[in-house]
């Protein structure tokens, strides 16, 4: 019941937002279809009843700014406590790169490299070449991932990351390193990670400031420096060896006299 009420509110709020932000939305966005798809996805989103309806509508609007479809899993709305987080999927990232690259893209993709697959990158006659021969239906352990982008003018750029690098990015910069996305779709998140890195070298020309902002925010990776661990040791130094209430056991007495 609570679910229905919040969804009704979200529908109203999102509709209003889509009207008021019409200028910043992609020209080819079908608002009615987008709204319908959002509601279908939200109905099945666990924990949605804990979220505030206005913030839910704002999160869904981010998908609209980028022209990504929640139902087609090009992007996700993930409840996190009482807020709803927006995240793009690998599929969405490919769509955005193809649509907004200044230098037109012929093809762009990312692949996982697993145990036993052959992957080589080299320069042949001055040209960058990558060669990938995966074992069919390989279920082996993931060793790394690469992403490659072929432009229509024949040039190409690519990026590779080892498993260690991918895990380092996940552990250091991800906002939800143990969130649903990373746990249930680890491979897809690896592909998204390497693709994001590749996209840094592709000049994207977004239609609006809102689009660029949402794109920057939706990576799941926080660029800002990691918060420093809070130490209790400074406190400990201030009152060295002060004993609270209980008597110091003999074994400790010896040690503190050392």
């Amino acid at each position: 019941m609570a679910n229905d009420l919040i969804l009704k509110d979200v529908h109203k709020n999102l509709n209003t937002l889509l009207e008021s932000k019409a200028e910043a939305l992609p020209k080819d966005l079908n608002k009615t279809r987008f709204l319908q798809n959002c509601m279908t996805v939200l109905q099945d989103t666990k924990g949605i009843e804990k979220c505030n309806s206005i913030s839910v509508a704002r999160t869904m609007l981010k998908g609209a700014f980028l022209g990504l479809d929640f139902l087609n899993k090009e992007c996700y709305a993930i409840p996190y406590g009482n807020s709803l987080q927006f995240q793009t999927d690998y599929k969405g990232e490919v769509k955005l790169a193809k649509k907004y690259s200044i230098n037109p893209i012929r093809d762009i993709y990312a692949k996982l490299v697993r145990e036993g697959d052959v992957f080589a990158d080299k320069i042949e006659n001055g040209l960058q070449v990558i060669n990938f021969e995966p074992i069919p239906f390989n279920d082996g352990a993931i060793k790394g991932a690469f992403a490659v982008c072929y432009y229509e003018d024949g040039s190409m750029i690519y990026e590779t990351m080892s498993l260690k690098e991918l895990e380092h990015i996940r552990n250091t910069y991800s906002k939800q390193k143990n969130g649903q996305a990373w746990i249930n779709s680890t491979g897809e998140m690896y592909k998204k990670t390497v693709l994001r890195r590749l996209c840094k070298n592709i000049s994207l020309d977004f239609d609006s400031i809102e689009q660029r902002q949402v794109f920057e925010d939706s990576s799941d990776f926080e660029v800002k420096e990691k918060a420093k661990a809070k130490s209790i040791l400074d406190n400990a130094d201030e009152v060295e060896y002060q004993i609270v209430e209980e008597e110091l056991p003999d074994s400790l007495q010896e040690a503190s006299n050392d």
Partner: protein, 267 residues
């Protein structure tokens, strides 16, 4: 709430465990509901491993009750006298702590083994805090383990994880933080003093807070959210719901009756 108040003497009693949930109990229920319930009913007793006893040895030292501990556990001594090899390791671990000014300072300025009660999602909880310093705003738990840095495979996360995630110590920290919040009206910083049983023991002071002022509140909220369904399930089970067997733990194996075959590919 109930009239039963857990104390040092009855903390691990069956009655205390039936009335109050605790961090370890919650983890047991998540591992296997049937085993956890059998333990609560006194129908099954999990074996106390040497590894657990090693942890208790170091705890007893920190609490200042090592002599009593040795008296109560003759099995840690050799027949010809002296400590068994595995408990000599504990002595090496204790020396490692003694040689560290920061850790000694924390141990010395904290209250030891304090017991508190509270309620989480309507379920009564009991906690026993190894080291507590309310004035300075923190508490700490001593953990003795094989290795601090080694990661182990987790079926749940489908990757290798550190010992805190593997053993759900983050749950324990969040439970302690919440019960202490209910008792003292503020969020205390959770810390783990990790000590390894390696030949040359490693040590670490691990915190769950960052300089970001919201970090404690976020940690509490996210972890409580994660635990909510499991805590509510414990409530149901204690109120009489049928426990689910995992068919993998020692209890399930020891009480198993074959009812149907398993298809070979389902193994």
């Amino acid at each position: 709430m109930t009239d039963f108040i857990p104390t040092k003497d009855n903390y691990f009693s069956q009655e205390a465990s039936r009335i109050y949930c605790g961090a370890s109990q919650l983890k047991q229920f998540v591992q296997c509901e049937a085993q956890a319930m059998a333990q609560l009913m006194g129908e099954y007793q999990a074996e106390q491993t040497e590894s657990m006893l090693q942890g208790s040895y170091v705890h007893a030292w920190a609490e200042g009750t090592l002599d009593k501990f040795i008296e109560e556990h003759p099995e840690i001594m050799l027949k010809k006298g002296g400590l068994k090899e595995s408990f000599k390791t504990c002595e090496t671990i204790i020396d490692t702590v003694k040689n560290d000014n920061a850790l000694m300072s924390i141990i010395n300025q904290c209250q030891k083994e304090r017991i508190y009660i509270g309620e989480i999602f309507g379920v009564p909880f009991k906690i026993k805090v190894d080291l507590l310093n309310v004035d300075k705003g923190y508490f700490a738990d001593l953990k003795v383990m094989k290795s601090i840095t080694e990661q182990s495979w987790s079926d749940e996360y489908k990757r290798k994880v550190n010992f805190i995630i593997a053993w759900k110590h983050d749950w324990q920290m969040a439970i302690y933080m919440e019960i202490l919040r209910q008792n003292f009206g503020k969020l205390l910083i959770p810390n783990i003093i990790a000590l390894s049983k390696e030949k040359v023991p490693d040590k670490a002071l691990i915190t769950f807070a960052t300089e970001d002022e919201k970090s404690l509140e976020t940690f509490r909220e996210i972890t409580l959210n994660e635990m909510e369904p499991h805590i509510l399930r414990v409530k149901e089970l204690k109120e009489g719901a049928e426990p689910v067997r995992c068919e993998k733990c020692d209890y399930c194996k020891s009480t198993k009756q074959i009812k149907e075959p398993v298809f070979w590919l389902d193994l």
